[in-house]
């Protein structure tokens, strides 16, 4: 497959040629395409039903499967070098940190609200304690 001979590279011998010349078969590409179209159809179908709080999980789950197919086969990452896999996957890892802490703060603010330390950002109605009932 290779038109040239690799001269002594000596950098990381294990990485040589990996991901360089992997040629996938048209049949494989076609089946990936069909799978993607089918999953798009599934996405639309399940959106017609209400699974409550699982809606987001299901939608994102299907999208993730589709994304993995694109990454692994169309983008050849499955056949790429270990470092390229690591690089791309770590972007999702660090993205998840942004999600976890930012959304985590939002979700736990509600718990704080129950401790009467803060109120939620949209609650603009404030009653002064002097107008409330109680032992004030």
């Amino acid at each position: 497959m290779s038109d040239h001979t690799s001269t002594g590279d000596g950098h990381a011998p294990g990485e040589l040629d990996m991901g360089h010349h992997h040629v996938s078969s048209p049949a494989m590409f076609l089946s990936v395409l069909l799978a993607l179209l089918f999953l798009t159809f599934i996405t639309v179908v399940v959106a017609q039903f209400d699974f409550g709080s699982a809606n987001m999980l299901i939608a994102m789950g299907i999208a993730s499967i589709k994304a993995s197919l694109v990454i692994a086969f169309f983008m050849h990452l499955k056949y790429d070098t270990a470092i390229n896999k690591l690089v791309f996957m770590s972007s999702f890892l660090f993205l998840s940190l942004l999600f976890i802490f930012t959304l985590g703060d939002l979700f736990t603010r509600r718990l704080d609200h129950e401790l009467h330390t803060t109120k939620s950002p949209v609650d603009l109605e404030w009653s002064h304690p002097s107008t409330l009932d109680g032992d004030h």
Partner: protein, 356 residues
């Protein structure tokens, strides 16, 4: 760029700074923190503990460093080192583990303290004030729904909670002697509480940058005894039959609330809002308001300045906007929490500025 080269003359403070009459912080024995007037002792405790740890580590590090620099300095150009050691595992483990243990103590201590500071006790909840921050002043509403501006009175030995609200941008409520600080986020409420135990007058700073007069966003915190509280010193607007006091009171309010945008003395240079000078002309015993073009709902009309217009402009400033440039570009924020009594004092002051 031009505005850096051509400086407008600096505003003359004229002896009415917001912190006049507040004594400087009394500093504690170690010279670092203001003497606390509240009960959050763990802040001082952990601060000095960490401080001491830092000094110990600093002395060790610089001591070893300076000793080796001096003792092992190169005396001839080809001098070789005394040792070629590259690592020492037990030593490295020790200096990883020991700091780890120390910082975990600090974390636990600090977190426990912060829980104390964010969990509002019931006594404080029953003594709730509301503090409204806006560019660039503070308004306080008391549990009995009375109001004060740029100063607040709290009772000694009685825990107090402040619900914090901002009407424009981020501010922060910071009383150094109480060790409390909380950012005020527009669109939601925040709260702080503290337990004052020492009478006196203390500064309250805005600690989150909020624009032009951020550094002037100051309030006095009076910690007073129950008898003084019962007298409601903050709620004393001079009675209507004392016009001179009312004008003086209005002038003080105006310096606190309005002077950052409106010109009210010949020496003022602000042009954000229309000048108060020449708003009225005195003819005999009556004050005649000036004619002014205003925009109401996009339509330009001419009105005469009078009490009703001023009250409306204070409570709902965007309803009629002065058509003259540059004022038509700037919008004034609402002062709808100002009591009618105080607005009347402001108008009295405004009228006292009239030409004869």
């Amino acid at each position: 760029m031009i505005n850096y080269l051509i400086q407008e003359p600096k505003q003359d403070p004229q002896g009415d700074l917001p912190w006049d009459g507040v004594p400087a912080h009394e500093i504690d024995f170690w010279g670092q923190l203001p003497v606390q007037a509240g009960t959050f002792d763990h802040v001082d405790g952990l601060f000095y503990f960490t401080y001491a740890v830092c000094i110990i580590f600093f002395v060790i590090i610089t001591g070893v460093l300076l000793y080796s620099v001096f003792a092992h300095r190169r005396k001839t150009w080809d001098q070789k080192p005394l040792s070629n050691v590259t690592h020492n595992t037990p030593l490295e483990v020790v200096w990883t583990i020991v700091p780890l243990i120390i910082v975990m103590i600090m974390f636990a201590w600090g977190f426990k303290g912060s829980l104390d500071m964010t969990t509002v006790p019931h006594e404080a909840q029953r003594n709730t004030y509301k503090a409204t921050a806006k560019q660039w002043n503070w308004t306080f509403i008391y549990p009995d729904a009375t109001q004060s501006i740029a100063e607040v009175y709290v009772e000694v030995d009685k825990p107090v909670q402040f619900i914090l609200e901002s009407t424009d941008v981020l501010h922060a409520f910071y009383i150094p002697v109480m060790r409390v600080k909380r950012d005020i986020v527009p669109g939601r409420y925040q709260s702080v509480w503290f337990h004052p135990i020492k009478q006196g007058v203390y500064p309250l700073f805005c600690a989150e940058y909020c624009g032009d007069d951020h550094s002037r966003m100051y309030a006095k915190v009076h910690v007073v005894d129950a008898a003084t509280m019962a007298d409601r010193p903050w709620n004393k607007v001079p009675a209507e039959d004392k016009p001179v006091e009312r004008i003086a009171y209005g002038a003080r309010l105006a310096r606190q609330l309005c002077a950052s945008c409106h010109k009210m003395r010949d020496t003022d240079t602000v042009v954000t809002g229309p000048s108060w000078l020449g708003m009225f002309t005195k003819q005999g015993d009556t004050y005649v308001g000036r004619q002014r073009e205003v925009l109401e709902g996009g339509v330009t009309k001419t009105i005469t300045t009078d009490d009703a217009y001023i009250i409306e402009s204070i409570k709902d400033p965007t309803k009629k906007i002065v058509a003259e440039a540059p004022y038509n570009k700037n919008s004034m924020s609402k002062f709808d929490t100002l009591t009618d009594d105080r607005v009347a004092c402001l108008i009295a002051y405004m009228k006292s500025l009239a030409d004869n």
